[in-house]
Amino acid sequence: MSVVFYLLAGVTVLGGLTAVLLKNTVHCALALTVAFAGLALLFLELDAQFAGFAQILVYIGAVAILVVFAILLTRGSETPKDGVFSRTWMAGLVVAAAVFAGLGWAVIQSAQFLPHETGAPPVVTVEQIGNALMGRYVLPLEIVALLLTAALVGAVIVAMHEKGDIK
């Protein structure tokens, strides 16, 4: 629990908070990007190089752009007239608190069962990740690939030129 951790955690939480509190939707998307970056830096602080850089590449480089495009191409870029808080905020708060409580309990419970650290944490190299992906976790990898292919094909079909009547 070092200073760096607190700093990064603060940045992430701040990014998340501003993402829901700001009025302008594009500003919210950019604040979300800051939250992603904070998360990536947390991964890097834990020496998980691959996870951190993949987080930047995928989330900031692709998902954030996707969110921004979605906001721009729909009418989400207009500022909401009634303010950012919906009328049912109480119910939302209850649900959020319940989810947080559940996750927190799960994390604390699992921390009890981890072996105490003996020596330095293991350094995970990209090679080990690669071996694990291609060895032990190859089935999830292929399923995810199939899912992505389906999404890609679907996107292409929706956006495709109609070749029906053009001869």
């Binding site: 950019l30 850089f53 930047i56 590449l57 480089g61 921004v68 030129h161 109609e162 053009i166």
Partner: protein, 392 residues
């Protein structure tokens, strides 16, 4: 050959740092390297602007700038003074914070990319295990800055330019990564230092550069095409097309912020040329075994400058691609070729040493190229568009 000239910068840094107490040595050493990078590459940028203007001028039957200093070499100083003293206009309805941050994000992201490039023997800033991934992750952040610039200007043309730029950069990101993955497959590591070390071997005096293999040659060409598109350079410069969108996503920027965008674009060019040199042209290794006495950093920077000259040459030659032509090219030609390149690399690895793998891999790539080109050059049929989901 590790001579003193080769390691002169490293030795200089060690000597400077040796005056300090032990705790300060690592941070100061890193600081010195960072300052060196921040000093070198903008200087190179200044040189490149003159080179580009004179080079384009000569290609276009005219002299480039020649009034400021002999052969115009002091022109960047004049340009710098101009940029610094111009009024910084921010449109009234522009989003001030995002407008301000966009060039900063761009320049910071691009400078970070230089951290992993091995510029000479032992001359990389950080030897990361996942160095290539870091480079591409940082490159992806530049797209965000482009979008921020276009959106915050509250200008239809800027926004249009930004959307086009982002669409183009995303489309060409995939072939860029795929062509680099081929190199990673053969080397077995994402670390750029190891990739260069793998290419630093010689057979009969010729180097093991990856460009001298069939998949490496094809990969390099595709990498070059994708890199040109990533840095919004002609013929892919529709987002900043001077005759179409004024200046595209940086229309509303003036003075120093414009200079920062310009700097960011050229530094992006340098870093991606550096990456191309590292992945395919052997980084800092010499072209012939006999030439190894020349310092390694000279080879690296020569390769980078050669790539810059080729980029300038291409800019002066080719007309601009239209947006749909650009995207078609990326998704329908370059991406399938890169995927085939991966198959090619696999074949290369598993066919073992010998002449067979040369023949098989070359035939595969050339055959695919010719067939896909034939398919792509069939005439398009234009007619009224019918929609499947929208009402007729």
């Amino acid at each position: 050959m590790v001579t003193m000239l080769d390691q002169i910068f490293v030795l200089l840094k060690h000597w400077l740092v040796s005056f300090l107490p032990l705790e300060l040595q690592t941070p100061v050493s890193v600081l010195i390297s960072v300052v060196a990078i921040i000093g070198t590459f903008p200087a190179l940028f200044a040189l490149t602007t003159v080179l580009e203007r004179k080079g384009l001028g000569r290609i276009q039957n005219r002299i480039g700038p020649n009034r400021t200093g002999p052969f115009g070499i002091l022109q960047p100083i004049a340009d710098g003074i101009k940029s610094l003293t111009k009024e910084d206009i921010v449109p009234l309805s522009a989003d001030a914070v995002v407008h301000f941050m966009a060039p900063l994000v761009l320049v910071v992201a691009v400078f970070m990319g230089f951290a992993v490039l091995p510029m000479g023997r032992n001359m990389e800033l950080v030897d990361m295990d996942a160095g290539l991934l870091f480079f591409f992750a940082i490159g992806a952040s530049t797209e965000l800055s482009v979008f921020m610039a276009g959106w915050s200007s509250r200008n239809k043309y800027s926004l249009l330019g930004a959307m086009r730029a982002v669409a183009q950069m995303i489309s060409y990101e995939v072939p860029l990564l795929m062509s680099s993955v081929a190199v990673v497959m053969i080397t077995g590591s994402l670390s750029l230092v190891k990739i260069v070390a793998a290419q630093n071997q010689y057979t009969w005096g010729l180097p093991h550069w990856y460009i001298f293999t069939p998949w490496g040659c094809a990969g390099f060409v595709m990498f070059a095409v994708a890199a040109t598109a990533e840095t919004n350079r002609s013929p892919f410069d529709l987002p900043e097309g001077e005759s179409e969108l004024v200046a595209g996503y940086f229309t509303e920027y003036s003075g120093f912020k414009f200079a920062l965008f310009f700097l960011g674009e050229y530094l992006g060019m340098f870093s991606i040329s550096g990456l191309g040199a590292t992945l395919f042209l052997g980084g800092w290794s010499a072209p012939l075994q006999a030439l190894q006495f020349v310092p390694s950093w000279i080879w690296f920077f020569s390769k980078v400058m050669l790539s810059i000259v080729v980029l300038i040459w291409i800019r002066g030659t080719l007309p601009r691609l239209r947006q749909d032509q650009l995207m078609n090219f990326a998704w329908k030609f370059v991406l399938p070729m890169t995927l085939l390149n991966l198959v090619d690399v696999g074949l290369w690895r598993f066919l073992g040493e010998g002449w067979i793998r040369w023949v098989v891999c070359s035939v595969l790539m050339l055959g695919a190229y010719v067939l896909m080109a034939r398919a792509g050059m069939r005439q398009e049929h234009f007619g009224p568009r019918r929609y499947r989901y929208a009402d007729s």
